[in-house]
């Protein structure tokens, strides 16, 4: 383009046009603003610095590692370890637990409780509810009745290996199917169990015999439970699947074998103990709140 053209000058900006006209569109030949060049240089310098410091350019079967020698996974693990170290102060006591010592300790209230709560919400709440109040099919943890035992040690055992899982140390519990039983008997049993639940059962009902013959071995005489074999008490208000007639009929027909996952591979020992402690206190805390 020659500098000494006689091209049209735009009256607004005073800049020369390029002399083209595309259906009425013209262009000004405004020189590149300096700031664009500077911005290009600046961002380029930034990039070169980044390329020198960080892994950046592939070469054949390898790449430039950068002067800082950074590796994103190492950094992440380092950060993670730093967090883990920070947690040691209050998580350490949970490593090999003496739960009774913790009861009064304010390490618990101030430091561990929020962490336990978050762990519970991210891992357990989908089954046991945000406050451990359970949902249909999954047991309530915020009451005083337990399938196995309410001591933190036993709870930790449950969390570690689960119930009815593939783990070698799993707790095992099965409510067998009574589909071999005559229907009238099942109906009688179911009606009996419903009444057990609200405490209005007649002690010498005919079904009581059926119950003590077939069920008491696991659920205890008159369904009082507490045998720590995974079979729930049937004479209280705490239920897993439901203690209305049709649900009990369903339970008797198909049996039940709920699965509580095992957490050893997912949570650390200390975290599991922390959760066990948290769960063991849910009932007591709930009561306190209620009062």
């Amino acid at each position: 383009m020659s500098k000494h053209s006689h091209r049209e000058i735009d009256p607004v900006t005073g800049h020369e046009t390029t002399g083209h006209d595309w259906n009425g569109i013209k262009e000004l030949n405004t020189p590149l603003p300096k700031i664009v060049i500077w911005a290009l240089i600046l961002t380029f310098v930034y990039s070169v610095i980044a390329w020198i410091l960080l892994p950046a350019w592939p070469i054949g079967r390898d790449y430039t590692r950068g002067l800082l020698g950074l590796d994103q996974s190492d950094i992440a693990l380092e950060d993670y370890r730093a967090l883990a170290t920070k947690r040691q102060d209050w998580l350490q006591p949970f490593e090999n637990v003496d739960f009774s010592a913790l009861q009064a300790d304010d390490v618990w209230q101030n430091n561990a409780l929020p962490a336990a709560q978050r762990l519970f919400e991210d891992n357990c709440a989908v089954c046991h509810g945000m406050q451990g109040r359970g949902i249909q099919g999954f047991p309530v943890l915020s009451d005083e009745t337990w399938l196995w035992s309410g001591t933190p040690e036993e709870i930790a055992q449950t969390i570690r290996y689960g119930i009815n899982t593939d783990s070698a140390d799993t707790r095992y519990a099965e409510m067998p199917s009574f589909n071999w039983m005559e229907r009238p008997d099942r109906v009688a049993l179911a009606e009996y169990v419903v009444l057990l639940g609200d405490g209005s059962v007649k002690p010498n009902a005919a079904a009581a015999t059926l119950f003590s013959e077939n069920c008491a071995a696991c659920h205890g005489e008159a369904g009082i439970g507490g045998l720590e074999n995974g079979a729930p008490a049937l004479n209280d208000s705490s239920v897993i699947y439901g203690q209305d007639f049709s649900t009990v009929m369903q339970t008797l027909w198909s049996g039940r074998q709920g699965v509580m996952p095992a957490w050893t591979d997912r949570l650390t020992q200390a975290e599991i103990n922390l959760l066990a402690f948290y769960v063991s206190r849910l009932g007591a805390d709930e009561k306190q709140v209620a009062q």
Partner: protein, 242 residues
Amino acid sequence: MLKLHYNLERVSMGLVAAIIIAASVGGIVEIAPLFTIDETVEVPDDLRPHTPLELAGREIFIREGCYACHSQMVRSLADEIDRYGPYSQAGESAYDHPMLWGSKRTGPDLARIGGKYSDEWHVRHLIDPRSVVPASIMPAYPWLLKSLDTDLLTDSLATLSELGVPYSDEMITSAASDALAQSRPDSNETDGFRARYEERPAIRAFDGDPARLTEMDALVAYLQALGTLTVVSETVVVEVDE
């Protein structure tokens, strides 16, 4: 320079060529090395391909657009390791055509979901998420209880094996019966399934009903396999523990 351009913009084919060149460099430099750099192409020794049932589940995961809300990529960041488990490694998805790393987490990451919950929970959650998680905004998928169509499985495995996924001829021909066997613990076909896929994949009635092979069986089998196809992930945990 300006002069050069002034001439270039008069020749349409010149412009075309220049655009192609300018827009190719970056892609070539970034993509080609991913096929050659050793540490990138490494596939873990113990990586197993999906079983036919899991593969069918993966197709359902894709069909329903679960990836629109769930990533399957734990990034290398401390908080993600903390929340989801070991960060994901490239080798883990080496057999995934396509990868499902995702770009949005409306729901949580699923890369490590396998084994976290029980089959029964998944079934109930998928049929009606709000029945188990009242605050959930995940859609319900009650139609997954319909029977699984295993018609395409043999051809699917064959296609994947052409693309380099290690399925043997036997696996390919028995794909449909293997899918059934994996969902039916008491059937006779489980021996053949075990012989082909060894001990690792779980054999269970994933939807709770061994009598029917449903889409739910497939999807739950897939979800329970996520993060368990190789144990590389565990090395990361061990490293952290010491």
